[in-house]
């Protein structure tokens, strides 16, 4: 964790972590934390042998990462701000498995039989719903947090495969509108750069109520990233920390939201689909209220969703995992009789076609990727290992997106750094990832006998862990036992 200004909650700067390969099995996974631990230990202590080889045992509650954080708080009075999503191990899509077809289900021929992937979003009220070729979309990420080159690359990659990108806090840029065939405009609490002209230029509008990494929290774009251009877009002075509000300034509660959505529709002559984005915390109630407010689509962002910068304590301790959020959201849609009519777009830790297929099988209509898209552009690329070391991090660990020093030129406003990113090549890499994720989802869908990705269903899934079984209400693999549900199938597990 590094920071070069005194503006916020900096971790010690200039400390270079040990190479990840040198870490022993009990070492903290956070290189900055390890750097702090080493720096503390090195004051008068010679490190020689592996502590475990000496019979020493690390405390699980107070492991070295935790102890380093405590020391840092005690020494500085500061907490950690970082980007990215939750690092703790959470129940996730890996805890589900597809059953595939054998006798009771009939598979489709891989590579030969058709499995469609297109999805229509926002047909409930909008005159011009979105028609996407793949249900994998690009999540909202702000200009300010990302460089102009990164926004251009996202637009190029998404457009190459016929899907949508999304703006973020701070407004719409020429880079993303110019290179995004289908662009969703985020309408955020801060209203930084909010221009009705951009509402009309967008293909859909996403009213953001929350984010998976920090439900209930606002944002903080630190001063070191507030260049002249970012400051002008947000009507704020250069170099100051910019707080993004946690709630909208001109409405409170779902009844007001309904009126706000009507206003947005009136301003855009009812052409654009209106999404409502929520951070996963109480998805059943939030989705039910979003439906009542008139949303055309709902974006549900789970705890593994990333952020440009917020308090670590928020990222790791507020919200619920994506896996746990989907079933109650689908319940709300089904109870309203609007499942598949009000689309559910799930985000938060989507990494592969398997994740896509599992989210769809649980009831989502589409997914959004953020962190995976940044990795495709070149974030944390091992080729930049030396560059990451220079700023006190390591490839694969870098999450100081708030610091503006990104060697990959993605999470920065430094013109020298951002021009390192070739938006054409990076966009093509993203397009490749999107194609692969779509094809992987098709492979699974065919194996389950589905001619369209949206035909995947909960019955195609079983759970690998009791936790996942309870959260998704799918039976534990090899059983018909669903924790918490008695007699679901009338079998021995009832």
């Amino acid at each position: 964790m590094t920071s070069t200004t005194t503006s916020t909650c900096p971790m010690p700067s200039g400390q270079v972590p040990e190479p990840p390969a040198a870490a022993n099995t009990t070492a903290p996974t956070d290189p900055a934390g390890r750097a702090r631990a080493v720096a503390t230990a090195s004051a008068g202590v010679t490190q020689t042998a592996d502590p475990a080889a000496l019979g020493l045992r690390e405390n699980n509650t107070f492991d070295r990462t935790t102890m380093a954080a405590i020391r840092h708080a005690a020494q500085t009075g500061l907490y950690d701000i970082r980007g990215g999503g939750a690092k703790r191990k959470l129940p996730h899509f890996d805890d589900l498995l597809f059953l595939g077809a054998s006798m009771s289900r009939y598979p489709l021929e891989g590579y030969r039989e058709r499995c469609d992937t297109d999805v229509v979003i926002g047909a409930r009220h909008a005159k011009k719903p979105l028609h996407l070729k793949t249900p994998v979309t690009i999540a909202g990420m702000s200009f300010g947090s990302l460089s102009g080159q990164a926004k251009e690359a996202l637009g190029r990659g998404a457009s190459e495969v016929g899907t949508s990108t999304t703006t973020g806090d701070g407004g719409m840029t020429e880079e993303e509108r110019g290179h995004s065939e289908t662009l969703v405009y985020q309408y955020l609490p801060s209203r930084y750069g909010m221009n009705p002209k951009h509402l009309r230029m967008a293909d859909a509008i996403e009213v953001v109520l929350g984010q998976g990494a920090k439900p209930g929290g606002g944002g903080m774009l630190l001063g070191q990233k507030i260049t002249e251009r970012v400051a002008a877009m947000r009507t704020l002075p250069i170099g100051i920390d910019q707080r993004s509000a946690c709630r909208h300034p001109d409405w409170t509660g779902p009844d007001d939201l309904r009126i706000k959505i009507t206003e947005l529709r009136e301003i855009t002559d009812w052409e654009k689909p209106i999404y409502v984005k929520i951070g996963a915390s109480r998805p059943y109630y939030d989705v039910a209220l979003a439906i009542k407010a008139g949303a055309d689509a709902i974006v549900l962002d789970g705890m593994q969703g990333g952020t440009a910068a917020t308090q670590e304590v928020f990222i790791e301790h507020v919200g619920i995992p994506t896996l746990a959020a989907i079933p109650p959201a689908v319940d709300a849609l089904q109870e309203a009789g609007l499942h598949r009519q009000v689309q559910l777009i799930v985000s938060g830790g989507i990494r592969s076609g398997a994740d896509v297929a599992k989210a769809l099988a649980l009831g989502a209509d589409a997914v959004s990727i953020g962190t995976a898209a940044l990795i495709a552009l070149g974030d944390n690329d091992p080729a930049l290992e030396n560059e990451y070391r220079k700023i006190g991090s390591a490839a694969g660990y870098y999450d100081d997106w708030q610091a503006g020093q990104d060697p990959a030129g993605i999470t920065t406003q430094d013109p020298e750094l951002s021009k390192r990113l070739d938006p054409v090549a990076a966009g093509h890499r993203l397009a490749n990832l999107l194609r692969v994720m779509t094809m992987e989802a098709q492979i699974i869908a065919r194996a389950c006998g589905k001619a369209h990705l949206l035909h995947l269903e909960p019955e195609d899934l079983v759970a690998l862990t009791i936790e996942a079984a309870a959260m998704t209400r799918r039976p534990l693999a090899g059983t018909n036992w669903i924790p918490g549900l008695a007699g679901a199938y009338g079998g021995p597990g009832a």
């Binding site: 200004t5 005194t6 503006s7 916020t8 909650c9 500085t76 009075g77 500061l78 801060s190 209203r191 909010m194 221009n195 009705p196 002209k197 509402l199 903080m220 001063g223 947000r234 009507t235 704020l236 002075p237 100051i240 920390d241 707080r243 509000a245 300034p249 001109d250 409405w251 007001d256 009126i259 706000k260 009507t262 206003e263 009136e266 301003i267 855009t268 002559d269 009812w270």
Partner: protein, 232 residues
């Protein structure tokens, strides 16, 4: 839509026509045209998203977000206005002859909002360049996180005025309940007297600028520092 031409104005009766029909007509109107809207009856989203130099006179009370996101148009409301009147206005002028509910002029980037009566809580919240002149009082947390522009209050201001303010200018003639975090009283220099006089004149008001006090940001909280943790 059944409209009625009155001289050079077009009249729309919202007891007959829908708000959708009105807004569609205003979005397709000729620049410079004049409109009269009758029987608004507190309906929401009236005359929103206008982009041309139109003149729209609304006879009566309006609901939420009237004249929201206005660009270039002059909108006159003869009654009271609900939540978020002229929210995110970019340019033009909105004049409320009565009073306004909360969040008047929220996040507005430009133009002039005049409220002859009182404005409720959070008037000018997150204002980003708009000028707002209120003839009466404003409620609590007005100009919360105000970024740019000017708020003129000819009456009193409630608690938390200018909380977490950035660069907006606040002028209050009456009493202030309490100032919010990082908001302080500042000197009235000649350029501020000049700005205030211009805004009062533009709003058609006769108050003496010398009777006002100015408030603005102390700029102590622009960058987070742990020693200020209890100031928020």
């Amino acid at each position: 839509m059944g409209t009625l031409a009155i001289g050079k104005s077009t009249r729309v009766d919202l007891s007959i026509n829908s708000v959708r029909e009105l807004n569609q007509a205003l979005h397709q109107a000729e620049a410079g045209s004049a409109w009269e809207v009758t029987h608004p009856n507190g309906q929401h989203a009236i005359a929103v998203g206008l982009t041309l130099p139109l003149t729209v006179r609304i006879e009566g009370h309006v609901g939420y977000f009237a004249a929201g996101m206005n660009e270039q148009a002059t909108v006159e409301i003869t009654g009271n206005a609900g939540v978020g009147v002229a929210e995110n206005m970019m340019s033009g002028r909105v004049h409320v002859a009565g009073s306004a509910s909360q969040s008047a002029g929220a996040t507005a980037h430009g133009g002039l909002l005049v409220i002859d009566g009182d404005a409720a809580a959070r008037c000018g919240i997150s204002m980003k360049g708009v000028d707002i002149v209120v003839g009466g009082n404003v409620g609590h947390m007005s100009a919360f996180m105000a970024q740019a522009g000017a708020l003129v209050v000819c009456g009193d201001a409630g608690d938390g005025l200018g909380d977490s303010i950035y660069e907006a200018h606040l002028y209050v003639r009456g009493a202030v309940g309490a100032l919010g975090a990082d908001c302080v009283e500042k000197d009235m220099r000649p350029e501020h007297v000049e700005e205030l006089a211009r805004l009062l004149a533009a709003a058609g008001r006769a108050e003496n600028p010398a009777e006002f006090r100015r408030y603005g940001s102390a700029r102590q909280l622009y960058n987070f520092h742990v020693d200020n943790a209890f100031a928020y």
